[in-house]
Amino acid sequence: MNKAFTIDYYINKVLDFFKGYMDIDKKQNAVLSYAIRLVINSIIAYSMALIPALIFGNFNNVLIITLTFAALRVFSGGAHNSSILNCSINGAIISNILGFLPKYLVLNKSIMFSIIIFTFLFSLWAIGKYAPADTPSKPITTKAKRQVLRRNSFVVVCIWCFISIVWFIKASHVTTYIYASTLGILWQSFTVTTSGYKLYSVADKALLYFRREEI
């Protein structure tokens, strides 16, 4: 008998393990199933981004880019892919391409500072206009929640900018942290815009086509 080794298969395996030791009702089962899916999705997505980064020698850059991206994304939302595999492939490609920039496109402090200021202003504009950017699978329905998420998005961007400016004053050269985190913030800010949604939609359709799946 052929078993489909899908994410659901592994989620059920973990839940069966839990159920072997304690009683789990229907509601807890649904909550745990969702949480385990989030964990597995994260492992898949980060592995697919970081393993190529390790091979290419960009691990630090890609790690900082993805973590900065995630820190802002939690509050600002942004464009999505239609499946975890498309999300992982898309994320791996973009983060690794961006990861090459600090390595091969060396910038001096003044240019880096200009990019930081541009990224800060662009992020403020994108967040002010579009954030929080929700999806059909997780709509943000209350005004209060919208305001809290938008405010927290601004806080994340301001904290990042503050750290970057402190670096600019103290450091003598462009560091990986500042360069990579700037790219992470810029990428995430772009994904909340209309153009970011369009780009993700095109990338998603292209991935579905190459994977021979129905669009």
Binding site: A35, A79, G91
Partner: protein
């Protein structure tokens, strides 16, 4: 001991699920479907 560890794991996973509901989206470019039990 094992049961306590599993209870801790369940607590952590429940916290993760609720944190995700409170946030705008998941940290990657894919948002799985939220079960009705979490929305209630």
């Amino acid at each position: 001991m094992k049961k306590r560890l599993l209870q801790a794991a369940i607590t952590l996973l429940t916290f993760l699920a609720l944190s995700n509901i409170a946030s705008a989206t998941s940290v990657m470019g894919y948002q799985p479907e939220i079960p009705q039990e979490l929305l209630d």
